[in-house]
């Protein structure tokens, strides 16, 4: 499946996902699950990798981005475009499959596909926003935070380790902690972690592999201490 999430801190957002894709042939850790839309906004996908990547690529390539037309693009405009693109890409894939005599229903849980748009709405509300779309209806939902797909272990950790006053630096460590702990159990989550931050001063910034590895190394003591406390209280 995957793990994808958007976390909110006092000074920005942290977006994260793994890179594993699972198919009938096996798994591969080659999937790109999120892209930068513009300076302040990123988009993630979870579920069906082929459909998801196609949809987020279409969104990023849309002619509203402002890079080609040199105009300010509102967060709401990106969201409205996403409303159309995500559902259309998913339904196009379903229709193509049916043409190849594969009878698929959009409600089939094996075809679950979702998207998270996270960023700063610089031009209208001046707020950080997190939006979710999910098959089969792709009804847009605004959320405070989202943990999606193979989410239950991360939700448990989030419930116990997160608080509203955390800043982006702390959230980065939590993001890596959640990804590593989920990978440990869930075979459909793994591969290089993909993490980005969205802040006022720097906009959307993807963390490098070295930065992520440094965070994993920094978290080694935390992994051990978490295990120790659970053993102490429950073992």
């Amino acid at each position: 499946m995957t793990l994808a999430f958007a976390l909110r801190g006092t000074n920005g957002l942290v977006l994260g996902a793994d890179s594993r894709v699972t198919s009938l042939e096996g798994t591969a850790d080659t999937s790109t699950k999120f892209l930068q839309v513009n300076r302040e906004v990123g988009v993630l996908t979870f579920g069906m990798a082929e459909v998801g990547y196609k949809a987020i690529t279409r969104l990023v390539a849309s002619d509203f981005t402002g890079v080609r037309k040199k105009r300010i693009v509102h967060f709401s405009e990106i969201a409205e475009k996403a409303d159309v693109i995500f559902k259309q890409t998913f339904m196009d894939w379903i229709d193509n499959s049916r043409k190849n005599s594969i009878d698929l229903q959009p409600t089939d849980p094996r075809l679950t596909t979702g998207f998270i748009l996270g960023g700063f709405d610089l031009n209208e509300t001046n707020q950080f926003k997190i939006l979710l779309w999910h098959s089969p209806n792709f009804q847009r939902q605004e959320r405070f935070e989202i943990i999606a797909a193979q989410w239950i272990i991360s939700q448990y950790l989030f419930n116990h380790l997160y608080y509203y006053e955390m800043n982006v630096e702390q959230l980065k460590r939590l993001a890596v902690f959640m990804l590593v702990e989920t990978e440990m159990i869930s075979p459909s989550v793994g591969g290089p972690s993909q993490i980005a931050t969205v802040t006022l001063e720097n906009g959307f910034q993807r963390l490098s592999e070295k930065e992520i590895q440094d965070l994993i190394n920094e978290n080694q003591g935390r992994f051990a201490e978490f295990r120790r406390i659970l053993l102490d209280r429950l073992g």
Binding site: I152, Y156, L161, G221, R222, F226, R227, L234
Partner: protein, 131 residues
């Protein structure tokens, strides 16, 4: 030798849900011994995660019951499951439904563990965290 049985069954319609304990088997492969029925599981990742950290075959039935109570409480919170919980053990003494008072104590302990974890790790991701 005591055999403890770890498993999970959930019902979304506000009816009691059952936590069973069985040693060493995946939840989805479990068979309810009395009725020969396959147990349904929402998602066993969290069960697998917490038992990987804490559970061992050498654990006493008492500790395994407390662990299962804690895991049950987490599922209940995350999925907003049924109000009532049953905990059942199987040992060489047979199948045993825990009484309501014992279950209340186990769930109360689970809540205390949760509060302790939240307090202990309240600064877990600060730069200078070191215990």
């Amino acid at each position: 030798m005591t055999i403890s049985f770890v498993g999970y069954e959930a019902d979304f319609n506000e009816r009691p849900f059952y936590s069973l304990m069985f040693d060493g088997q995946k939840i989805n492969d479990l068979v309810y011994p009395a009725e020969n029925k396959v147990l349904f599981s929402i998602n066993n990742d969290l069960w697998a995660y917490l038992t990987s950290k804490v559970y061992s075959n050498h654990m006493s039935l008492e500790k395994a019951v407390n662990l299962m109570g804690y895991i049950t409480a987490q599922y209940s919170k995350i999925f907003s499951l049924g109000k009532y919980v049953n905990l059942i053990t199987i040992s060489k003494d047979g199948l045993n439904y825990l009484d309501i008072e014992r279950i209340k104590n186990i769930m109360s302990n689970a809540e205390e563990v949760d509060v302790y974890i939240c307090k202990y790790f309240c600064d877990f991701f600060m730069t200078k965290w070191c215990k």
